[in-house]
């Protein structure tokens, strides 16, 4: 479904990612781990089309989309680090904004379908996003990604700042999304929990992406100090 081949990303002239290659298939969770500042977010933003790529290719269902901006990539969605919600838009407006194309009727139908998964948001439709609690805001960020009926969701630190219970719910929901056939590309500060979900995993070290075995990595003594917050 998503294929990344030899991706090189630069930031202010400096290379931050060199020659990264990986893929994500439908119903698969691929986890990217690495220390803070290793370039996970840069890689994610480049893969999804929010920042330019220096070299390499991104294929989406076999079609080259490397230079295509994010807004043109139907079927992809992002749950960004820090949620990035428009604070004065209400929950309903936030979701309608990201609902699939095809007119007001279809957008409202997509909204209703999404709200079934998020009963708390359904009760807060008229509330501005900026007034939600951290957990609710993260839920809205996840709902915003789902409302456009994506086939791939890229999640950048989705449990950052959540309570342990809320983080557990979030991971449980990600597991459910896999069962629905949605591919997930995930980075998370709680790498143990993320790797427990992973079908495949990669570690980003010294600008290079290296495949790791999720189960082996879970038992690594070094991993928690490098990746956990």
């Amino acid at each position: 479904m998503l294929e990344v081949k030899g991706l090189t990303v630069t930031w202010r002239g400096e290379s931050v990612i060199d020659d990264a290659s990986f893929s994500v298939q439908p119903g698969e969770i691929v986890v990217l781990t690495g220390a803070n500042g290793s370039g996970k977010s840069s890689l994610i933003r480049a893969v999804i089309g929010l920042t330019p790529v220096k070299r390499g290719r991104v294929l989406w269902h076999g079609r080259e989309v490397t230079k295509q901006p994010f807004h043109k990539r139907d079927g992809m969605a992002l749950v960004p680090e820090g949620r990035q919600l428009a604070p004065t838009l209400t929950v309903e407006e936030t979701l309608l904004l990201s609902a699939g194309r095809g007119g007001a009727k279809k957008r409202h139908a997509d909204l209703q379908n999404t709200l079934h998964r998020f009963p708390i948001l359904a009760a807060r439709l008229g509330q501005p996003a900026g007034t939600l609690s951290g957990g609710e805001a993260q839920m809205l960020s996840l709902a915003r990604a789902l409302v456009g009926r994506p086939r791939l969701i890229v999640l950048d630190e989705p449990t950052l700042g959540l309570s342990p219970a809320a983080a557990k719910d979030a991971f449980s929901m990600m597991n459910g999304l896999r069962d629905d056939g949605i591919g997930l590309l995930l980075t998370d500060q709680d790498s143990r929990a993320a790797l427990a979900l992973a079908d495949r995993a990669f570690v980003l070290e010294d600008r290079r992406l290296r495949p790791i075995t999720p189960t082996d990595h879970k038992t690594s003594k070094q991993e928690p100090t490098a990746c956990s917050a």
């Binding site: 994010f70 428009a86 604070p87 407006e93 904004l97």
Partner: protein, 295 residues
């Protein structure tokens, strides 16, 4: 007392046109976080095109209005392409300086094309004046008020009850949130520029048709009035722009009546200074924190 009320009424009529100018500025600033100081001159280009159509072919108000809209739209697109689309989003100062250069270019271009300076513009259709309880509202003023009110209603409908309006508000709120929501930011910014041009063209049209003439200095005049009204109301707030325009119109009318035309501008700039000191967020109380911005 009657004078005070009459001046307020006159001020509201003038202020409604100022409010439209301020709304034009606000749409661009609110969505792009950049100031287009060539906004007034772009309207001036439109009005001169309308005046040219009128003088050349004895065209009436409707044809002149159409030409005004087309001219203002084309001039705005020219500014948007050169001073905004071509300059990085975080280089707000470069955009402002570039729009100043285009202001000079447009004003000089119109001065060369219309060397007579003052050019005739078709006047508004005559409406009967209204007199109630000693208060007077001219037919022209009534038409300006009604037209401005209609534009505000349409604009409100567009911004708060359409998907495009939702995209505009999201972009005004947070460019990053808009990008994550898969909004085509460049398209929304471009269309907002066009919308601002049309709103400004309505204001310019009403003012030119009330006066029955136009000079190339209209660009400077419109930029100053629109900017002052926007700053009094609160940068980036549509409600603030409306309030700022009305307050500016009322203060001008009162100052002119009680202190004379010469003192009018002194009072207006004094008010602006006072607002910046006492109410830095303007009447609408816009907080410039990034997280609290609302169109």
């Amino acid at each position: 007392m009657l004078d005070l009320v009459q001046n307020t009424l006159d001020g509201i009529a003038a202020g409604s046109a100022y409010a439209l100018l301020a709304i034009g500025f606000t749409l661009i600033f609110g969505v792009m976080r950049r100031l287009n100081i060539a906004f007034g001159p772009s309207i001036m280009v439109g009005i001169f095109l309308g005046a040219w159509v009128h003088v050349q072919w004895s065209a009436g108000l409707i044809e002149a209005a159409l030409a005004t809209f087309i001219g203002a739209l084309l001039a705005s697109i020219y500014i948007e392409r050169l001073s905004f689309a071509a300059i990085r989003g975080d280089a707000a100062l470069a955009s402002m300086a570039s729009s100043f250069a285009l202001w000079m270019q447009l004003e000089q271009g119109v001065s060369l094309a219309f060397p007579g300076r003052t050019t005739a513009f078709p006047t508004l259709p005559p409406l009967p004046d209204i007199q109630i309880a000693g208060l007077f509202l001219g037919g022209d003023d009534l038409l300006v008020l009604l037209s401005a009110g209609l534009v505000l209603l349409v604009l409100h409908r567009l911004i708060y009850h359409s998907h495009f309006g939702l995209e505009m508000r999201a972009l005004a709120d947070s460019a990053e949130a808009a990008a994550v929501s898969r909004i085509n930011i460049n398209r929304v910014a471009f269309l907002t520029f066009c919308l601002a041009a049309l709103v400004g063209a309505v204001a310019g049209l009403l003012i030119a048709a009330t006066d029955g003439q136009i000079t190339p200095k209209f660009g400077l005049w419109a930029t100053m009035k629109g900017l002052i009204a926007m700053m009094i109301g609160g940068l980036g707030s549509l409600r603030g722009a409306l309030l700022g325009g009305l307050v500016l119109g009322i203060v001008e009318a009162q100052a002119q009546w009680y202190l004379g035309a010469a003192a009018r501008e002194i009072v207006v700039y004094g008010l602006l200074f006072l607002c910046l000191i006492v109410l830095p967020g303007g009447i609408a109380g816009v907080r410039d924190t990034g997280a609290e911005r609302k169109l």
